[in-house]
């Protein structure tokens, strides 16, 4: 009945029900959910609306999904239901060069947008490491970050308006430039729990006139962290400020031959963008600051090829760790930038105590840590130890005045830990928003909110 109705509405080729197909959509990059009842591949907003109505009639939960690169179970069907795959809605619908904006479909690959607009001298700023595969729709769902959000801001700062299908299958538009509540701001980062994005107006930025990437090697992460504080403290906000520790940079160098100094205990990858004159000044300032912090090597990459080689290392770091262990568990926590050394010590302690190898690759300028805990999935003891250590790291970040996710989201994995930073009142207030958009909890159920923060029990 359900499947037949979906086929009638969307066409047989847009509805998948084979077990093999369904199992592909029960995973993301982190975890496994239940098998969905069906997977639909809408081609238009109208298809999405029609499918939502059918799912609603049949009481099936709705899970919107991009490329499934999420790291916290945000796109897995926790209760089964209908998975909406946006693979067919992947076009740039409008490009408005003069006003530097574009209207895009949610299935568009992040990097493809920047490629599409490059000839016009523009780019799309949010650049999660997954940008070669992850979609704009998924990025909107998690309010994705990336190295360059240090100066450009995260996804929410680049979304100008949305076309949304609500829980009833009705379509509406939002815009940050109209009067009324900022629904755009509320929807971005809501992990598919408030509505389904069917297209988005996004802000494009002008390609900077000059870009330079600097690489500084340090004896250890302490001195590299000190350099981060010194650079930020000096009033310099680079476009990116990334750190890799010894294990990470060795893995990266073995995989990519990017030119990272393998004898260093940590490297800082710093990018400046803007005008040649300013970059000359920044370069000498940053060079001095890192030297004072104890840097043992310094490189300035000016050619595009050199810059790309350095960035390829950073962006491929997660994959490169495959050389160290078969699996990794990535944590995503944020601390105030000056607390980085404390946070890194806590990471080390948590892993040392359990004999876990850990590589750190992260957005140092934002205080956003990504420890990669190495393990072997087939060893049950290791799995348990890694989860325990991850938990300890998360608590350390909270204790340092930080937060439990900077850019990956809460999804399924972290929902029970949300109570560590928010009170029942805080969460009940968020639940009021959910009540407005999804009172029956049919949109991506069991995500974000801890079990028990539903509607009834928190109402006053």
């Amino acid at each position: 009945m359900l499947v037949q109705r979906l086929i009638d509405a969307l066409g047989a080729d847009a509805v998948k029900t084979d077990r093999e197909d369904l199992s592909v959509y029960s995973f993301d990059a982190y975890s496994e959910g239940r098998l969905p009842t069906a997977v639909v591949q809408p081609s238009s907003t109208r298809d999405v609306a029609a499918a939502v109505k059918i799912a609603r009639d049949c009481g099936e939960p709705i899970v919107a999904r991009g490329s499934g690169t999420g790291l916290c179970g945000g796109a897995v069907p926790a209760e089964g239901g209908i998975v909406f795959s946006f693979a067919r809605m992947n076009r740039v619908l409008e490009l408005d060069v003069r006003n530097r904006r574009a209207r895009v479909q949610p299935g568009l690959i992040n990097l493809d947008l920047s490629k599409h607009v490059a000839n016009a001298g523009l780019f799309y700023a949010p650049d999660p490491s997954s940008q070669k595969i992850s979609t704009i729709g998924g990025n909107i769902g998690t309010n994705a970050g990336g190295p360059h959000c240090l100066s450009y801001g995260t996804t929410v700062n680049h979304v100008l308006g949305l076309e949304v299908v609500d829980e009833f299958g009705e379509v509406y538009q939002t815009s940050v430039e109209e009067s009324g509540y900022d629904l755009t701001g509320a929807l971005v980062g809501s992990e598919g729990t408030l509505g389904i994005t069917c297209s988005a107006w996004v802000r494009l930025m002008r390609t900077p006139e000059a870009v330079r990437v600097w690489l500084a090697g340090f004896p250890d992460v302490e001195s590299a962290s000190a350099a981060v504080s010194a650079i930020i403290g000096a009033g310099i906000v680079p476009t990116a400020l990334e750190m890799l520790d010894r294990l990470a940079l060795q893995a990266v160098e073995a995989a990519f031959h990017s030119g990272y100094p393998t004898d260093a205990g940590a490297v800082l990858l710093v990018e400046g963008a803007g005008f040649e004159d300013d970059l000359n000044v920044y370069e000498s300032q940053i060079a001095r600051l890192v030297r004072e912090a104890g840097a043992i090597s310094w490189r300035s990459a000016r050619s595009e090829a050199e810059r790309e080689a350095l960035w390829a290392g950073r962006k491929g770091a997660l994959g490169a760790t495959g050389r160290i262990a078969p699996n990794y568990y990535i944590q995503d926590v944020v601390v105030p930038r000056t607390k980085l050394p404390d946070a890194l010590r806590a990471v080390e302690a948590a892993c040392d105590a359990r004999d876990i190898k850990v590589a750190n690759v992260f957005h140092a300028g934002d205080g956003n840590l990504h420890p990669l805990l190495m393990y072997d999935r087939s060893e049950k003891k290791q799995v348990a130890a890694v989860i325990e250590a991850g938990n300890e790291i998360l608590q350390a970040a909270v204790d340092l005045g930080g937060t439990i996710s900077g850019e990956h989201g809460i999804g399924y994995e972290k929902r029970e830990t949300l109570t560590r930073i928010f009170t029942t009142d805080d969460l009940a207030t968020m639940a009021r928003v959910r009540d407005v958009f999804d009172p029956k909890r049919m949109l991506n159920p069991e995500k974000i909110f801890p079990a028990g923060v539903g509607c009834a029990e928190v109402q006053r």
Binding site: G180, G185, A186, I232, D277, D366, N368
Partner: protein
């Protein structure tokens, strides 16, 4: 109309007062600096005003982390002074910064001329605390610059005109103060403006702000040519300012503008005067409208709006934002009676040009006869449901917001 005014000393006291009003069925308005009180509709009822005047502290400035936290009642000027001690700032542009509070400005969602350059003020908010009508004190976000833990509730409170809750605390990302700031002003000769606007938009060094002005004599620096004048603000390093000045002068020259005045020492004040003019009234005989749109069409839209006003025999002052596309149109008449006679017909005509224009300034008797918000947004039913869920008894600012919310 307001029977009583209370200025709580603490957030807890504010919460208790608000909850009591909510229980008693009283309608409450929230007062910051009262600078944007004429923006939007007048509340249907107001039994009590809760002022944030005493909740005006800088709670923290973690300058090494580039973050700060304030109580909502701190003024924009006070915040700037405090942050400047460590060479930092938050780019919030709004009129009357010595009176305007951070909470009030953010609750009004005021959009400033430097937002294309730095981002919106809302994009600098990393955390908030609000008090809901039932007395719940709820926080969102935190003191870190990147955070996707739970819904970004702060976004909903910003621009909500105090209709969901009372903002009592805001946390911001800060930025280092630019090395230099320079204002440039030029008279625009007849027919030059349509050429000037695209020239400015295409500059390689993007100005921090760029506005065309027509009228606003004495309130904004410079004198009008036949096509008004242009105000440009540059921010950045010495080298960039020099280059931008050269580029700008030659661009303006190409567009037929012979002379540009440079203001270095008074650039801040010059920007302030532009911001203040956005809501400056002329006695009881003016209304100021704001119309948003794309930068590409801004010059044409501003001209159409002005021409329509002139056809309705209204005096006009125009200020439009070349980089962001905002148009501020102030219409006025010799005396309040003459103004009252002409404004309604013009308002209809303006709504035909932009049904979503907003009234941002003007005196109460005339404003109340007009629909301040224009056509409600498409998602108005969702917004009504939001109000209902947060403030079911319509205690907070009833009728102040779009669609009668």
């Amino acid at each position: 109309m307001i029977a009583e005014r209370i200025a709580p000393q603490t957030v807890e006291e504010l919460a208790q007062t608000l909850a009591q009003c909510n229980r008693d069925g009283l309608a409450v308005t929230i007062e910051g600096g009262n600078t944007l009180h004429a923006m939007g509709s007048t509340p249907r009822r107001a039994d009590l005003a809760i002022a944030t005047a005493h909740l005006n502290h800088l709670l923290a400035h973690e300058f090494h982390d580039l973050t700060c936290s304030v109580r909502a009642g701190i003024t924009l000027a006070h915040l700037s002074e405090k942050l400047a001690k460590h060479g930092q700032f938050v780019p919030i542009d709004a009129p009357l910064r010595r009176k305007a509070t951070v909470g009030g400005t953010m609750a009004a969602g005021w959009l400033g001329p430097r937002r294309h350059f730095y981002g919106r003020a809302r994009d600098f908010v990393i955390g908030s605390q609000v008090t809901l009508p039932d007395g719940t004190i709820a926080k969102a976000g935190g003191m870190v610059v990147k955070n996707v833990s739970g819904y970004d509730m702060s976004k909903l409170y910003i621009g909500s005109f105090g209709t969901l809750g009372v903002i009592t605390q805001l946390n911001f990302k800060t930025l280092p103060v630019p090395q230099r700031r320079r204002a440039l002003i030029a008279k625009l000769p007849e027919g030059s403006r349509p050429r000037v606007v695209p020239q400015i938009a295409a500059l390689a060094v993007t100005p921090a702000a760029a506005c065309c002005v027509e009228g606003f004599r004495k309130s904004i620096d410079g004198e009008d040519g036949i096509d008004g004048r242009v105000f440009i603000l540059l921010e950045g390093s010495d080298a960039i300012l020099e280059r931008a000045t050269r580029d700008l002068r030659s661009a303006l020259g190409r567009a037929g503008v012979p002379e540009t005045i440079i203001i270095d020492a008074g650039a801040n004040e010059s920007l302030e005067r532009v911001l203040d003019a956005q809501i400056a009234s002329v006695g009881e005989r003016s209304i100021t409208y704001r119309s948003l749109g794309t930068p590409e069409t801004v010059e044409q839209r501003a001209t159409e709006m002005r021409d329509a006003a002139n056809r309705s025999e209204l005096f006009t002052d125009v200020l439009f934002d070349v980089m962001n596309g905002d148009v501020f149109l102030r219409v006025s008449q010799r005396d309040s009676r003459a103004f009252a006679e002409k404004i309604e017909a013009f308002d209809d005509e303006l709504c035909a040009l932009d049904s979503r224009r907003v009234i941002v300034a003007g005196d109460a008797p005339i404003r109340s006869s007009l629909d301040a918000w224009g056509t409600p947004p498409e998602a108005i039913e969702k917004m009504r449901a939001m109000k209902e869920r947060f403030d079911p008894k319509a205690t907070l600012n009833p009728g102040r917001f779009v669609g009668g919310i």
